[in-house]
Symmetry: C2
Subunit: 83 residues, 2 copies
């Protein structure tokens, strides 16, 4: 399944509790679109959030964010992951 990394900007002053609550909304909805949100990264000092997901398409990944909480990322990239 394709993997995606999205980037939200301007996310200043978000607490870990708010992040967790928002992320929980993605998790509650993701199966509807065949998506799995894997993890996310937050840089409080620049207000950036990066979300890593597996999804059948970019549109499916975005649909989860849109319907779950309406916070659409500024960018989304289809990535290959390497260790």
């Amino acid at each position: 399944m394709p993997r995606f990394l999205d980037i939200h900007t301007g996310m200043h002053d978000v607490t870990p509790a708010q992040l967790a609550e928002t992320h929980a909304k993605d998790l509650a909805l993701q199966a509807k679109y065949g998506v799995r949100y894997i993890k996310y990264f937050y840089d409080a000092s620049t207000g950036k959030i990066f979300c890593l997901s597996e999804a059948p398409s970019k549109e499916a990944a975005l649909a989860v964010h849109r319907e779950a909480h309406g916070l659409i990322p500024d960018d989304i990239f289809e990535v290959q992951e390497f260790e």
Copy 2:
């Protein structure tokens, strides 16, 4: 230990073998700076590479890239990681 996500842009037409070779240079050098490169993500269609690392500082993470192969990212973010 702080965790960092960096972004390299303009990395078009890079083969998986070239990525692996370049990454191996980071791995060979990272202990010198107390850094651990964890994984990386490549989007061939936009030429973006994202590298996730643990490092004592942003400068240490960048020092590994600089000395290992000279490919310095365009951005680097100190991130908290959540599942």
